[in-house]
Symmetry: D2
Subunit: 343 residues, 4 copies
């Protein structure tokens, strides 16, 4: 059994991680920490886990993780980078669900996240935890940075086209729609149901933190600079991301459907839908799957890729467990077989 | 392995049943029938099951169920009663998720369901599949009638009080709120998102088909006639039932919290929350659990019981599988361990 | 033109009041105050009012209301009672949308609102602003306390029965469902869309501040003590209150439908639906109307009254304007003719 | 007073038209027809209009419109073109809210709407009812084709850029999000709340009927062919359209904010938000306004225009009334002053 610690178990990615790990056959949840809720039972904060997980939040201290094989950070940005060096030094592997190790360049991190990086020396070792692109290096990794929810959907949709070189590197447009849980469990007026229910808005249209992360991933795949425009939108739903991706084909006769099917043929969690499909976010709700469809409006040069994930599943906690499975040589789908909740 | 057939797999209870059974370790889904979608892959109608269940809808014919150990009917009312005699005669057990075998009195059935009962001779044998009240007889049953979603929530909330005789049998008020999936996957204007979103209404306030079923269950528990008022409401949510139940205590000093905790101490799927709690339907969404809390407003004689379930889980497909587990001597929780999806 | 001041214009009742008054043909909005947003344009906080209302929030100071004929308080509880004496002394009439003047007994106020009342000497003069019950005294009033949203719906539903003495005074059950805007524009985790969307819960089942207010109103109508149980519920919708009210008829042969129709025949904002109806909250959304229906489940002794309002309209800002119209001898419906927004 | 007839008053655009016209000070609703609901009171189908509009649906016959000055068609596509010639011949003006007269080319109409056009001879006379682009010709028109909801939002966002020639004509991307009321009041499984609530999907990504209409409008403005990609999405909300529009600037130093402000300075219903804004659909809910913001992600060559409308307001019934006001020389804003309903 893998002994797992979870830091910051009181956010939405934290509770989703607990929900998955509580039923994971190869994991023993050794410790769950929370600064704000230390001393309380997990089920007091998350009654959905009553009868499923008997655990109590403890203060996050170095001793708390004694005996752990791996520690997950489901924390705000800027937390994991303060803990990772000590944990790694003690042989404990680290999986960060936040942004601390997603960007390789510490200057870029500082610009977008507003503070100097606390352990730039670890950045070269950190592995970007998108298994569909980096499976081999994840297997041996000590430190994995799980991609953001937006970057997961956008990259899974565009990587095959850029790897194959069938689209131009500019302009790439990612118009992405997210449910409100992506914004976290924060007491903010702008996230109230009375504010976000029955309404839609774009936000951070001039620049969002996930933009440099996505661009870096796409450039790795393309082997060249890309010109990416990324506009996120907040939707009146709870879970789900729908990425609508626009790129220009170099050769309009290429069979993009076949290309995507080939690229993801052996992927357990990426599912290319039949030609003509339009994926619904609900079909992946609660699971670790990404569903993708591709269209060529009016048969023109623009290819439109539609990719959906559960932002808390494949976009966060599910993908973190997928990475853990790889890191610990378990079958990749262990504990992640749940189907989407429909309706 | 239990070989299971599912009739009518294209409604919401059908797809939920498939979702649960596809991952049930002791079940092999032998056949799934659908009149309207015969010949299509299940995943074409329910893309949430892609990669989880490879099956094709077939026409419901007597031959289709050859070799089955059990057949589930996730069909409109009035279907199972036409099939049950032949299936039982061939040694196939039957679990009906509709209303055909819920009422013991065929005249009552005809009055509320608008047609004569097709096999009244089977009614005495049919077992009402509420395990928390009838576990022993379910174990040996050939024919189980799963309770309706409303009756499940209302009975789980009120049975302990009536069994113990601590409340008067009249008046009992059940004010119950349901998500729209309870109305089924029917093309009706009144169920459109534009009609039901952001609005609430009562319906069938003068008389709903679940009323005689609930009353019968309560009278069995009370051992006397009860005067029940039941008003269902349609809410702008997808899954979930919240029953708010009002009864008059004979003796206001009785400790109802303790009574409920004692009654459900050993129940795997009924969870009495700590005193002062208010259950959310979301905490049981996607699972087979019922969460219950109890209040005494202003310390008066009226006791208020709050009970929540997922109408498609404990209120339908989950309970059907719980019954199957009992009928086939499996551990009762097999395949039903999922936690509620939160948020 | 009536010169109106609005205190606390940044909550949901405040913006609804501004939306109504901006188009009211007899009102000039003289001043809008907000402690938190002083100096900002109203349209910056409420872009729905762009092009409709050009005003700037100012600090609430005594001078700010110079020249006003009336001041509305759309503030938290405990604010209006600190301002009212000085305003009244200067001849400015006061309409409070909060709770400060709803209860006649200062001890009761202190018990439920947690602080001593600041001007108990004004309580005898304060008029309870439910026009359908107190129209005559509202006309001459200087100080009007607008009823709470729950109390408005419950009283409009039950008053006719109690006034006519056709139901017993106990037990009365008010099971009431509210949209989230009723909880106000507060940064609280429990009001996030990710928490309240697609879920329902009861709250304050053991005792809610609106209980003593409702009870007092019902007792005035009944002329005797009543035993009221009131359980509020939070629903995944934005606006709307649906009260489901249960009472025991003394004589089951009484024609309650006719009684209600007669009682409200001349009321411009209370609409008794045809027999057999079930009101939807959406049909009164954005307006000042209350729609009511009545049922007798199974023809028994329990009468069920269904009453819907918009909690921000007839439950708050609309009713406040209705009171103002009465106080200033305007036709009662002036500025309040909007139909419900459907769908 | 203008005597108005409404054909097809039982869809969502029909009821919204009734809601607006019932309170329009210069309109008398002379007749409302409905094939399916003839003989019923309007308030029976639309209880939100109780007390606001006393009218009865009648069969649509030629005699029904006797004495009308104008007839609105809130009907399915292919209806108005069968009625328009006879009405115009009798001097009755026609405003079509459907697609019959939106495309100038009858062959194009036939290709996208699946049947030959019934009166191609009227197409040259039909005026495209987007006042912000065609106000002058609308004033004198006998026959006005109201733009579709998507085309309204997309054109209002892109026209200024194309008229000014500051963006390239290709590729233009219109990623548009719509509430479910845009799909109409049709009994379809795909529009059920259980299907569309808490989920998002694109649809008709390979080609939607509004595409040729939008393209034609943009080409008129650009004076040259444009390459438009248009992908509509169905969102879990009731009303609202959010268009996210991507174009490539010829000269990245152009001040697009100033250009938009200048273009719409005198428009009563198009509101350019301050730089940096992100419009919410809720802020225009229930009104006839369009709110627009503009962004330049990362200061690059791609300009992103965000435009929101209420699909039933400015996208349908509101715009139809705006056109009527122009056709009958009334102030353009008559009857259309309502502010958006917030929250």
């Amino acid at each position: 059994m893998i002994r797992a610690g979870i830091v910051g178990g009181t956010g939405y990615t934290g509770v989703e991680l607990l929900r998955i790990l509580a039923l994971h056959p190869e994991v023993d949840i050794a410790v769950v920490t929370s600064r704000s809720d230390a001393g309380k039972d997990v089920e007091e904060i998350y009654p959905n886990l009553r009868g499923v997980l008997a655990a109590r939040f403890v203060e996050p201290t170095p001793e708390a993780f004694r005996g752990c094989d791996v520690v997950f950070f489901a924390t705000p940005n800027g937390t994991a980078m303060r803990w990772a060096p000590a944990l790694l030094a003690r042989g404990i592997r680290v999986i960060d669900l936040a942004a601390d190790f997603r960007l390789q360049d510490p200057a870029l991190w500082e610009r977008w996240y507003g503070e100097p990086h606390a352990c730039p020396e670890l950045l070269p070792e950190a592995v970007y935890g998108l298994p569909e692109a980096h499976r081999a290096v994840i297997r041996g990794a000590r430190l994995v940075a799980c991609p953001g929810c937006y970057p997961t959907a956008v990259q899974l949709g565009l990587l095959p086209l850029l790897e194959a070189g069938v689209v131009w590197a500019e302009p790439l447009v990612a118009d992405v729609k997210s449910g409100v849980s992506g914004a976290g469990r924060k007491a903010e007026v702008s996230l109230l149901m009375a504010e976000t229910g029955d309404s839609v808005k774009a936000y951070a249209a001039s620049g969002h933190r996930h933009w440099p992360e996505i661009r870096a991933g796409l450039e790795r795949a393309a082997g060249q600079p890309v010109d990416l425009v990324f506009v996120p939108h907040l939707l009146p739903m709870i879970r789900g991301i729908h990425a609508t991706l626009y790129a220009q084909l170099k050769d309009p006769t290429v069979d993009v459907q076949a290309l995507l099917e080939r690229r993801y043929r052996d992927e357990p969690f990426v599912d290319v839908l039949p030609a003509g499909s339009h994926p619904d976010t609900r079909n992946v709700r609660g699971g670790n799957r990404c569903q993708i469809a591709v269209h060529r409006p009016q048969g023109g040069a623009t290819v439109v890729v539609l990719a959906v994930i559960d932002n808390l599943g494949k976009g966060a906690a599910g993908q973190a467990v997928q990475n853990m499975n790889l890191m610990f040589d378990l079958p990749e789908t262990t504990g992640l077989t749940a189907a989407g909740l429909y309706p």
